[in-house]
């Protein structure tokens, strides 16, 4: 027995929306999906007319849907934005090659300019080379830190006013949980923000237009629209801790679909009591990027790689920043601690 669409009552419903429980046909779903993103953009005042907006594009489902929807809405509501795609090539053979091909096809399908920045050109290291040196245990730390800066640097080269990323409701809820599980109060307070203001030199404001959009709907939107996306897990990502948080959240969602927005809501309404110490944001004295330490995480990691001391950026070695900046040699004991890395 086919279910009728609860909105137009004419056509056959194709999905049950997790957020509302409504059964919608394809056209009513597309409309509802796009309108909700539009509402999010308008009510949070994410963009201003005339801005150049870089869409962080990985070739995966979220950024592909984001690029498609932003293009549709920019035309439908005349936002007056100049949109472009911004991709990062981490230098992972066999993974990034394929996903970048997808981004290149998206560039043509959506007629948007594309800029690819690579770890190799920015840092002198590909992820393949980094993994050779640091092994598979801490590689995600390097990749995450480098990617964040790479997007900013690419955006600066293109003189972009804002960057938007494809983070969806499930991702945000997962990050709230992760920050609780890690006791990372500073990030916990920041992670639910839909946009970050320019935090000083070297960082471009970012926003997440899909913050309230469920992953299920993103995947079904891409499926019914026949959007071209790439879906393979990074070959270097054994991030078990995040995996557990994700599975936990999906299990909760299958019992109560509102669990996703409920966790986001909890994150949004948390307030940190007075007297909790927060890191003070400054800028990196080497590259000018935002940092709460003398050297930003990316510069520390890079220094470690270049000196053959991969542990440098992994533990807490803030004391050594002064020495590194002054290019002083490290003691033998310091070197020994930073060299050993368990594979």
């Amino acid at each position: 027995m086919p279910v009728q669409c609860s909105s137009c009552t004419k056509k056959r419903a194709v999905l049950k929306r997790p957020k509302t429980g409504h059964s919608l046909c394809k056209d009513c779903f597309f409309w509802a999906f796009e309108e909700e993103v539009h509402q999010t953009i308008v009510s949070a005042r994410l963009f201003n007319r005339g801005e150049t907006v870089g869409i962080g594009a990985s070739g995966g489902k979220d950024s592909t849907v984001l690029a498609h929807v932003l293009k549709v809405l920019n035309e439908r509501y005349d936002y007056g934005l100049k949109l472009l795609l911004l991709s990062v090539d981490e230098g992972i053979t066999g993974y990034r090659d394929d996903s970048l091909e997808t981004v290149k096809r998206n560039q043509q399908q959506y007629e948007l300019p594309l800029k690819i920045v690579s770890y190799e050109e920015l840092y002198g290291w590909t992820m393949d080379a980094i993994v050779k040196q640091v092994g598979l245990k801490n590689n995600c730390t390097f990749c995450g830190v480098f990617r964040r800066q790479a997007l900013d640097r690419g955006a600066m080269m293109l003189k972009v006013d804002k960057i938007c990323t494809g983070h969806n409701a499930d991702d945000v809820a997962e990050t709230v949980l992760m920050n609780v599980l890690r006791g990372d109060i500073a990030r916990l307070r920041r992670c639910t923000a839909i946009s970050t203001a320019s935090e000083g030199e070297g960082a471009i404001p970012r926003c997440k237009p899909l913050k309230y959009t469920y992953e299920k709907e993103i995947v079904l939107y891409a499926y019914f629209k026949k959007l071209d996306y790439f879906s393979t897990e990074c070959i270097y990502s054994p991030n078990a801790y995040r995996g557990h948080a994700r599975t936990f959240l999906k299990d909760l969602e299958s019992v109560r679909p509102s669990a996703i927005v409920d966790v986001i809501h909890s994150g949004e309404t948390l307030s940190v009591k007075e007297g909790v110490k927060m890191p003070v944001q400054g800028t990196c004295s080497r590259c000018g990027y935002i940092s709460s330490q003398a050297l930003c995480k990316s510069c520390v990691l890079l220094e470690g790689l270049n000196r053959g001391l991969p542990r440098l950026g992994i533990g807490k070695h803030h004391r050594l920043h002064g020495k590194i900046l002054a290019q002083q040699p490290l003691t033998q004991q310091e070197e020994r601690k930073l060299k050993a890395i368990d594979f």
């Binding site: 419903a13 999905l15 990985s58 489902k61 499926y223 879906s231 393979t232 599975t247 999906k250 299990d251």
Partner: protein, 101 residues
């Protein structure tokens, strides 16, 4: 006795990686005394098609949360999920949402 039924199974969004990277499968379910339903199909896939790490696809008697199921291009949540009675020539699609965005 219900006659054997032919189905088109499709795996996407990364779920195909559990099936040797093959997205499309044409399968025939043998005849049995009662009509086939989705619950039995999942058990059949687990027994006949999944080679390793079945826990990445099935959980209990259903699919692992985060894998979407479409029956003839409609969300299975509209079709009775595990209780849906399969028809000859049905098109069943499994899409993983668990793979990178």
């Amino acid at each position: 006795m219900a006659a054997p039924i032919a189905l088109h199974l499709e795996f996407g969004g990364g779920a195909e990686l559990l099936f040797d990277g093959v997205k499309n499968h044409h399968v025939t379910l043998p005849s049995q005394s009662e009509p086939w339903d989705m619950r039995q199909l999942l058990a059949w896939i687990r027994g006949n098609m999944l080679k390793e790490r079945p826990e990445l696809f099935v959980q209990g008697e259903s699919v692992r949360p985060g894998i979407l199921v479409l029956i003839n291009d409609a969300d299975w949540e509209l079709m009775g999920e595990l209780e849906y009675q399969l028809q000859d020539q049905d098109n069943i699609i499994f899409i993983s949402t668990l793979h990178g965005g």
